[in-house]
Each structure stands twice: as C-alpha cells, then as structure tokens.
Amino acid sequence: MILLSSAILLLALQDKPKAPPKGPPWTTDPRAAKRESLRTGKPIFAYFTKTY
C-alpha cells in the first residue's frame, strides 16, 4: 500500500508542470513578449529550459 502511494505521488510530481523561477515578472506567451518588445523597445530575456 505504501509502495503504491509512493508511486502515485512520484507520478503526480513528475506530471506537475514546471513553473518559472520566482522573482521576475515572467511571461510564457511568445507572441505577447514580441509585441511588448516592439511596443516598448525593451529586449526579451529568454530563459530556455526543459523537463529533466
């Protein structure tokens, strides 16, 4: 039973979508970022990461 619960918990953790690091005002929408860059003249800082 304990093993089964652990396995379910592990699977749930693996499926949980990863979130950006805390702190900066992140966007995940490339189109919105591009518009904001053109509107404001600010560069985009892109942080590329993946599931490990």
Partner: protein
C-alpha cells in the same frame, strides 16, 4: 553558478525587472500546443541546448547577447542588449488598443462590432494581430498546402509539416520557404525538401544560414546517402567557419557534423581539413574522434593521403600529468580510435594495439603503421 536557485532569484537583478521582458521557454516534449510554441521560439532564436540564457530582439527573434551565468555577467549582458534595441514602434500601441477593444466587445457578446474591428487588421502587421484576429473570428481551419503562402509564420510551418507528412511534391512556393525570414519555417522547409527532393537543396547557401538548426538539419539529412555535392559544400563551409565567414553558436558541433559528411562523401580536399583538426590531439573533444573516424572512411575508399594522414593523429604518450588530471583514459581511447581508423583504411593491422600507451608503445605502433602505409 546554477541558473535556478542562485542566479535568477538574485535580489541584484531586481532593477532589471522592468527594463527587460522575461520570457520563460519550457520544453516538456509532450508535443502539445505549449511545447510546440516553445519549440518554435527555440528554432527562431537558434537555441539548441538547455539551459540557455539569451537576450533577444523581440520583433526579429535575433539573438542580441548570449548571457553569462553570474550576476555581474547577467547585468552586463542586459545593459548591452538594452543599448542595442531600436526605438519602440508607436503603431503597436494603437493596434493593441484596437485588439483589446475588439476582445471587450466579444466578451460582451457584440460579435458583429468586434468582427468589424478585427477584419481591419492588415496581413503585414509586425506583431501577428492579423493572425490573432483570425483566431478570434474562428476563421482558422486545419492547415493545408495553401498555407505555405500564409502571412502567419506558424501557419507556414504547419503547412510544411503537413506537406512533409503527406510527401507532397515540392512546389516553387515550398522552395521559397528555404529562405523565409522566420527561422522555424526555414528549418521545417529543409526537413521537407530534404525528405522529398534532396537534390534541390542549395547546400552552400544553407550551410551559411545564420541559424545553426538549419545547418545541422542539412548535414543530418545528408548522412543518409553519399553526396559529393554536399561534401564539396562541406569543405567550403569548414574553411569559411575557420575564416569567420560563417557564424555558429556551437562551432564544435558544426565541425563534428561536417566531419561525418566529409567521411561519407568527401574527396582528397577533405583530407587536410580533417587532419589539421585531428592532429591537434584534443582527446577531450568529440570532434577529434569524428575527424579520425572520417579519415578512416576516406582511407577505406582509397582517397589519396587519408591513411597516411592518420599517423599524425596518434596523440602523445600518457604523461603523469594526464594521469593526475584523470585524462589518461581519454588519451588512450583516442589512440585506439586512430588505430581502428587505420585498420579500416588499410583493411588490416601490422600490429595489435598495445596494452598501454607509453612512449615506447607509441613509438612502436607509429613505426609499424608508417612502414605498413608506405
């Protein structure tokens, strides 16, 4: 410095929160819409490794600065990127106001009024308002071959994927997408043309593409069968890379892929290029082994000078310094690779590879191979 946990939550970056736009691009590899959007951004920026930190010019997705991993490097990179940006485009603000008005009308159930506004967005706007308007109006249909000429890059990319899946014969329109301004479209165009009509790829132009992904895709596609035209373009690309005429964010990977192509399809002109790199004896660099193996392949095809060149590629004997740095195994492995490549080239070996790689072992093997090759 680790990116997450140390660099990105650093308090010292707070003054930059409002000076740059923070885009988090996460690949889940689930092939869902979010993952596809992330893949497209990566293709457009030419990003190919993780984690990667880049400052980008939003309108064009051009990389302005590759960012260092320390707080000081990050701040310096950000300041450099900010200084390189062009002035804002006032038209975007107007278009944004218009789009928000249309969305408010849609939310309030006033579909006709919203549609009247949304239909005013022009095809050539720089910020995809036209594409978003079409989505809001429910006019987006499944991708078709006609979308190869769509103003929206995502639609052109979808159309190319569809043409590839259905093996649609190449059209003039599809060929034109090999030089599309959008990097993701170019990459998918290469995949499509390489699969359906590889003889129509202009290797010289594609190997000079500013995006590594395009160069890598051309070389990966070329591994399926020997192609002397690709090898000729590969020799030129290697020389141009050395001369700084071709830019690459990952020149080592590019050389490794070029080496593989030269081994498969190269001629006499590939030998000095591969030898020059391999005889640097960089046993910690995978490209060295790739060059050695390719020289072995050339030797097997009896390309002049290939077998003899391999003798210069044996690394020096193992030294106490190498052992101390735990590099001895890498050095011996490279020596073994050179020995195997010579065996490939000559079809036989004058002597087995020695159990150790000390000065005497090296001397004996070199003498044996030199006599044999001559």
């Amino acid at each position: 410095m680790p990116v997450e946990g140390q660099l990105l939550p650093s308090e010292e970056l707070k003054p930059l929160y409002e000076k740059v736009i923070w885009l988090w691009v996460y690949r889940s590899f689930k092939k869902d819409p979010g993952d596809l959007a992330a893949e497209r951004v990566m293709n457009r920026c030419g990003a190919s490794t993780y984690p990667q930190l880049l400052f980008i010019d939003g309108p064009s997705w051009t990389v302005l600065v590759e960012c260092g991993r320390s707080v000081a490097e990050f701040i310096k990179s950000a300041e450099n990127a900010i200084a390189r940006m062009k002035k804002p485009d006032p038209a975007v603000e107007r278009l944004l106001v218009k789009m928000n008005r249309a969305k408010t009308l849609l939310e309030g159930g006033k579909k006709d009024d919203a549609a009247a506004i949304l239909s005013e967005f022009k095809k050539n706007d720089p910020c995809e308002f036209f594409a978003e308007a079409r989505e809001l109006l429910g006019l987006v249909k499944p991708a078709s071959e006609e979308d190869l000429a769509d103003p929206d890059a995502d639609r052109r990319a979808d159309a190319l994927d569809l043409c590839l899946a259905k093996r649609v014969p190449i059209t003039k329109g599809a060929m034109a997408l090999l030089s599309d301004p959008d990097g993701d479209v170019r990459l998918r165009a290469v995949a499509y043309v390489a699969a359906v009509a590889p003889d129509r790829l202009d290797f010289k132009t594609l190997l000079a593409d500013p995006m590594d992904g395009v160069k890598f895709a051309v070389l990966d596609a070329g591994k399926s069968a020997p192609d002397p035209k690709l090898a000729k373009a590969g020799v030129d690309a290697w020389r141009d890379l050395d001369a700084g005429k071709i830019r690459s964010g990952n020149p080592n990977v590019l050389r490794m892929k070029l080496a593989e192509i030269l081994g498969l399809s190269g001629g006499e002109d590939a030998v000095p290029i591969l030898e020059a790199f391999a005889s640097r004896h960089e046993f910690l660099n995978g490209t060295t082994g790739a060059c050695v193996r390719s020289l072995g392949q050339l030797g097997k095809r009896k390309v002049k000078g290939a077998a003899a060149s391999l003798i210069n590629c044996f690394p020096p004997a193992v030294t106490p310094e190498m052992e101390k740095a735990k590099h001895a195994t890498h050095c011996i492995n490279l020596a073994r690779t050179v020995h195997a490549a010579l065996q490939d080239a000559c079809g036989e070996s004058p002597s087995p590879f020695p159990p150790a790689w000390k000065e005497d072992d090296r001397k004996q093997i070199l003498e044996a191979w030199t006599r044999h090759v001559k």
